[in-house]
Symmetry: C2
Subunit: 274 residues, 2 copies
C-alpha cells in the first residue's frame, strides 16, 4: 500500500476551488506533504510569499507547471517563450522542486507540419537544458496523449521522450502521467528504459468511459479503466521512489465539489487503487 509520504497532490486537482495558499494549507491539513504547483497560482502571492507558505506547511514541491508552450504561431515570439521557460526553471530551483514540467505546445494554427513542430521542440529543449543544468533543476518531459497532438503537445509517447533524453544527456527526465500513456503497448518497456535517473515524476488519475472532453474530463483513480497500481509497480521496478501525484482536470465533476472532499477522496483512492 502506498505510504502517505509518497502522495502528492497537484494544484490542478482543485483548480477552480482553491488558490495557492488554500491549496497548500488544504492539502497539508490532510497530511499531504508534497505538491505540484502552477505558476499562475503562485503569482497570486509571488515567489517569496509562496515559498513561506510552502515552508510553513512543510510542503515540498514535486513539479513546477510549466515551461512552455513553444509554438511558432505569431502570438508569442519563440524567444519570449524561451525566456519565460528560463524563469520557470529559476522558480523551480528556488523552490527546490523535483522538476519543471516542459510543455511543448501543439502545431501552429493553420499548420499541418507535425514533424516540423516536433523538430522545433527538440531545438527548444536543447536550448533549455543548458540553463537547467546550471541551476540543478531537471526538465521534466511529460508525453501527452496523442489526442492532444494538434493543439497541446507534439510530444506524445514515452518512446519519443526517451529518445529525446538520449539525445540531450543529463538535466532532463520524464514525468509519467498514467492518463496520457496507459494505452501504450510499449509503456512498461519504456519505463524500464528510462530507469531511476530519468524518471522524475508519476501522475495518476483515471480514464473514464465515456470520456466527454479531451482535456477536462479525467476521473478519480478507481472510477475508470487505468491500472494505476500496475503502472506504479513498473515505475518502482525501474527504480522510481518519488511522489505519486494526483492530477485531475475535471470541469464537470471534481472541480464542482467541496475541495476538502476531493483531497480526502484522492488520498483514499491512492491507498486503494494506486
Amino acid at each position: 500500500m502506498l505510504t502517505p509520504d509518497r502522495i502528492a497532490i497537484n494544484q490542478a486537482t482543485t483548480k477552480t476551488q482553491w488558490g495557492f495558499r488554500d491549496s497548500v494549507e488544504g492539502y497539508a491539513s490532510r497530511g499531504v506533504r508534497r505538491i505540484g504547483i502552477w505558476l499562475d497560482k503562485l503569482q497570486e502571492c509571488g515567489l517569496a510569499e509562496g515559498k513561506k507558505i510552502l515552508d510553513a506547511n512543510g510542503m515540498a514541491v514535486t513539479g513546477v507547471n510549466r515551461a512552455g508552450p513553444f509554438v511558432l504561431d505569431g502570438s508569442v515570439p519563440l524567444s519570449a517563450a524561451v525566456d519565460g521557460a528560463r524563469t520557470a526553471i529559476d522558480v523551480a530551483a528556488e523552490l527546490g522542486a523535483d522538476c519543471v514540467l516542459v510543455f511543448p505546445g501543439g502545431m501552429p494554427q493553420g499548420s499541418r507540419d507535425l514533424a516540423g513542430a516536433r523538430g522545433r521542440f527538440v531545438s527548444v529543449a536543447a536550448a533549455l537544458v543548458d540553463h537547467a543544468r546550471g541551476t540543478g533543476v531537471t526538465l521534466g518531459l511529460e508525453p501527452l496523449h496523442p489526442m492532444l497532438a494538434a493543439d497541446r503537445s507534439v510530444l506524445n509517447t514515452m518512446t519519443e521522450a526517451n529518445d529525446l533524453c538520449d539525445a540531450l544527456g543529463s538535466g532532463i527526465g520524464i514525468v509519467v502521467d498514467a492518463y496520457h500513456v496507459w494505452w501504450d503497448v510499449r509503456l512498461k518497456a519504456e519505463i524500464a528504459r528510462a530507469g531511476a535517473e530519468r524518471l522524475v515524476g508519476f501522475h495518476v488519475s483515471d480514464w473514464l468511459v465515456p470520456t466527454r472532453d479531451l482535456v477536462f474530463d479525467r476521473g478519480m483513480m478507481g472510477d475508470g479503466v487505468i491500472d494505476n497500481a500496475e503502472i506504479r509497480g513498473w515505475m518502482e521496478a525501474a527504480g522510481y521512489a518519488g511522489a505519486v501525484e494526483v492530477e485531475i482536470f475535471s470541469e464537470r465533476d471534481w472541480w464542482q465539489k467541496d475541495p476538502d472532499e476531493v483531497v480526502r477522496t484522492a488520498i483514499d483512492r491512492c491507498r486503494t487503487f494506486v
Copy 2:
C-alpha cells in the same frame, strides 16, 4: 493529383442521410466507383439485392464493416462474435471486397486488464485468419486512435498491427486510417514496413481543432491538421495503389448536411488536399 478512379466513399460518411441503395446510387451519380459498406446498411436489402445494386452502379467494394467487436463482457458470447465475424468474411468474399475490417472492441466493462484484452484479440484474429484464407478475403486490421482504447479497440498503433501481421502470416493486412494514426512519430516507418502486400486500405478525413467528441467529430479533408497528401505519399512509396476512401463520422456537421453536397465536397477535397 488523385485520379477519380482512386476515390472511394465509405457509407459512414452519409450515415444518417442515406441507406444502402441511396448511398450507392448517390456516390455513383458523382462518378465514384468504389464504396466502403456497412453490414447494417446491407441488411436493409439483403446480400443478393445489395450485390445487384452495386453491380448496376458499377460499384466495387473496398471494405466490409465489420467483423467484431470481440469483448468478453458477457453480453455476446465470444463464440457468437466469432461466428458473426465469419459471416462478415463470407459477405466480403461474395462481394469481392478488398478486405473485411476487423474491429477488436475495447476492454470488458469493469476491467483494467488492457494487456489481457489485447491477448484475447490475438487469439481471435488467429482463429479468423484461417477462415479468411479459405475464402480469399483479407482481414483488415485498422489501428484505432489511442483515445478509443478503453471502449472501442485495443489495437492502437501501426506497430501493433504490423507485429500481429508478422505473427499471423498471410490473409491479414492493414487499413491505414489517417485520422487514427496521423500523430504517430513511427507512422512513415511502419507504413514502409507494412509494404504493398499488407496495405489493404487507406482512409482519409481530418482532425479538427477543437475536437468536441472522441468518435463523431471528424472533419472534412482540408478543415483540420492532418497532412493527408503526405501520408498518401508514404502509402504509395510503400507500393499501395488502392483506393483513397473518405470516411467521416460527423454528428454535428456533415451528417446534418445535404448528402449530395457532402459527396461533392469530399471529391473536391480529395483532389485538393489528398
